[in-house]
């Protein structure tokens, strides 16, 4: 067993442990932190496959941006885990059965000889930069979906604004101009009441 195989198994073990903790942790903050650990180790495995751009993008985008936001949200919300876990044991048999079926099927297909690429073919020749190649493809062959993805992000932004923006809030700062020009009758009401006898 050479060194890279050892590293691979080491990272994979951490990845599986972290992924399990994501769904079993009682505290949602711990779950989010374990998800970050899972992303880190996945990034490591991708880096070993010489997909360094994907590895860096995963860590920068997911761990750096998405998960930090996610942690903020989780910390601010008061999540009652016991209510979420209600009925867990009732659904477990059916869910486990379906999950097992899926794992078996996927194992059958993905484990077949077809996907066993020989090491010799999977090596990137020297002098080729992964990042450079992806960058070049994005602005040449893939420019159409690339531009459309930009439009999707724009739509996401529009949707976020339209669903949350509720107009400009009136500030509570006092306006000196109005205070100076205020008249007595704006503040005081003179009532005429009949005088009560005796």
């Amino acid at each position: 067993m050479d060194f890279s195989t050892v590293v691979f198994f080491f990272l994979s073990a951490i990845l599986i442990f972290a992924a399990l903790r994501v769904i079993t942790a009682r505290n949602p903050v711990y779950a989010a932190l374990h998800l970050m650990l899972a992303f880190f180790t996945t990034g490591g495995i991708w880096a070993m496959l010489q997909a360094e751009f994907l590895a860096i993008a995963l860590i920068v985008v997911y761990v750096g941006a998405v998960m930090v936001l996610f942690l903020f949200v989780v910390m601010m919300l008061d999540i009652n885990m016991d209510r979420i876990r209600e009925g867990f044991w009732n659904y477990l048999p059916l869910g486990a059965l379906l999950g097992l079926l899926m794992v078996l099927e996927m194992g059958l297909v993905l484990g077949s000889k077809y996907f066993q690429v020989p090491i010799a073919e999977a090596v990137v020749p020297a002098g080729v930069s992964n990042t450079k190649e992806i960058g070049a493809l994005l602005v040449t062959d893939y420019v159409f979906p690339f531009e459309l993805s930009a439009i999707i992000l724009l739509v996401g932004m529009i949707a976020a604004v339209v669903l949350t923006f509720r107009g400009v809030k009136k500030s509570k700062i006092s306006n000196p101009n109005q205070q100076v020009f205020v008249k007595a009758k704006d503040r005081m009401r003179v009532l005429q009441m009949p005088v009560e006898k005796d």
């Binding site: 996907f115 062959d141 739509v155 996401g156 529009i158 339209v162």
Partner: protein, 492 residues
């Protein structure tokens, strides 16, 4: 690195580029428009759609043209479907106008911008020749629609519908993507025409292909809304604001038809035996559950949702009968009947939701079946239009819906699936019950609500035109039928 790169030909995608530019332009214009003058945004949106149709007509060559490194294809099928998408969107916007202007919290500029972006998504899906393009177009359409469903954010039903739509839609996209990646694994390419060639040469791993195909068909079934992937349709149709329901129920069906054609027929025709078997099951289940569940509904929008499920099941019959045990003699006939069915369905569903929008007014939705009691006494003409649309949906002869059903059944019988044709007719008969119930409510029951129906002139003209189109195209179905056949002949 860029040595062998040539600037792509932008002309075939001119309508898409124009639409994207105008949508962003309108987004900026809307910032400077007061809420009371939203008509400007409305007019700009309509002009954009009309201009897109004009550009489409002007740039159409009728030849199959690939551009953007074969990511984008422009053929007659795409041109025809896109023209119908523009027409549908223009009608949807006109129908929605009064409804939106009566409800200021809904009538934001973003509604129009998101509708334009959704249109862009549909156009991209229709013209896609690559898995990546299909997926990106689908996401653009879906994201815009999720936001539009949730736009009435103070309504609990709308929020719930948006949440369900979003979660299930994301799941469906995931399945579609997983299927695509499996097929990529088996063929080594994402381009649909290359996949077809690679499969034809027969040097691919069949297990991986079928595994991917199952996910692909499930994802497509979700987007079409056929059983057993239909759970989102009734809730979304019911919960969404009626203009958004009208939008979801009409034009996207054309785009969904296009991606089914591109993925299954253009790309995976070699596997037709496998996907036809899956689609037959989906189709029979949809017709059964759609028609039976619609009977139990008291809400017209929900009833039309189940009717949509059954109609999509019926449409799939046209797609499964194209190739019979390797013999593609009837392919053109079958696929053009499915295309005719989709176009006819979109026309009818637009009319039905148009009447719901016409009957509703500020603070009143007119989506219960009881709201249509005695419509004949309140407005004989609108009741007559609704009658024509309901008859057409039920498949009563000499409306367009009858010929749509007839041509699909003809294809089914020609392909030798007699039992399938009998099942389809039986479920259509069951379906006729709930369509005719609407007619009975309108003509034979006393009205509960005597409020006069007040609508603008444009709405009256358009809904009349829509109703009459259902009747007149039923007398001359060859007009659209021959257009569909010609477009497919030039494209396949």
């Amino acid at each position: 690195m860029f040595d062998n790169f040539v600037i792509p030909d932008f002309l075939p995608a001119a309508p898409e580029i124009f639409l994207a530019t105008m949508a962003m332009f309108i987004l900026v214009v809307d910032l400077f428009v007061k809420d009371s003058r939203r008509t400007i945004v409305f007019v700009l949106t309509q002009l954009t759609l009309i201009a897109c149709a004009a550009i489409q007509l002007y740039t159409s060559t009728g030849e199959i043209t690939y551009t953007f490194s074969n990511m984008f294809v422009d053929d007659m099928m795409a041109d025809l479907l896109k023209m119908f998408v523009y027409l549908t969107m223009i009608m949807v916007m006109f129908y929605s106008r009064a409804y939106l202007f009566e409800r200021p919290n809904m009538n934001k500029g973003e509604f129009y911008v998101l509708a334009l972006f959704a249109t862009l998504g549909m156009l991209v899906m229709i013209s896609a020749n690559n898995f990546v393009t299909i997926y990106v177009g689908l996401e653009l359409l879906s994201l815009s629609l999720y936001a539009m469903v949730a736009m009435n954010r103070d309504s609990l039903a709308s929020t719930e519908a948006a949440m369900k739509y979003f979660v299930l839609g994301a799941l469906a996209s995931g399945m579609l993507l997983y299927g695509m990646s499996m097929i990529y694994g088996a063929t080594g390419t994402l381009e649909i025409t290359e996949i077809a060639e690679s499969l034809y040469r027969g040097e691919t791993n069949k297990t991986v292909l079928i595994f991917g195909l199952v996910f692909l068909v499930s994802g497509l079934a979700f987007k079409l809304g056929v059983v057993p992937f239909h759970m989102w349709i009734p809730d979304v149709y019911h919960g969404a604001p009626t203009p958004v329901t009208l939008l979801i129920g009409s034009a996207p069906k054309l785009a969904a038809f296009a991606i089914v054609m591109r993925l299954l027929v253009s790309g995976l025709i070699t596997l037709s035996q496998d996907w036809q078997g899956m689609l037959i099951i989906l189709s029979v289940l949809s017709m059964a559950i759609g028609n039976l569940a619609a009977i139990a509904q008291t809400n017209l929008k929900r009833m039309l949702a189940y009717s949509a499920i059954s109609h999509m099941g019926f449409m799939l019959l046209g797609i499964v009968t194209g190739v019979v045990s390797g013999d593609a003699r009837y392919a053109l006939n079958a696929y053009s009947s499915a295309m005719f069915y989709v176009i006819a369905y979109v026309l009818m569903t637009m009319g039905a939701f148009g009447v719901i929008l016409l009957m509703s007014r500020a603070g009143f939705e007119a989506d219960q079946l009881d709201d249509y009691k005695g419509l004949n006494k309140r407005s004989p003409w609108f009741a007559f239009i609704m009658l024509m649309i309901m008859f057409s949906m039920a498949g009563v002869p000499f409306f367009i819906g009858f010929f749509a059903k007839f041509s699909v059944l003809q294809a089914v019988v020609a392909a030798g699936y007699l039992w399938l044709a009998i099942v389809a007719v039986l479920f259509s008969l069951i379906g006729a019950f709930y369509y005719l119930r609407v007619v009975k409510l309108m003509y034979f029951d006393a009205p509960e609500d005597e409020t006069p129906i007040s609508t603008g002139m444009d709405m009256r003209i358009l809904i009349s035109a829509n109703g009459l189109a259902v009747a007149i195209l039923g007398i001359f179905p060859q007009v659209i039928m021959s257009l569909c056949a010609y477009a497919l002949l030039r494209s396949l």
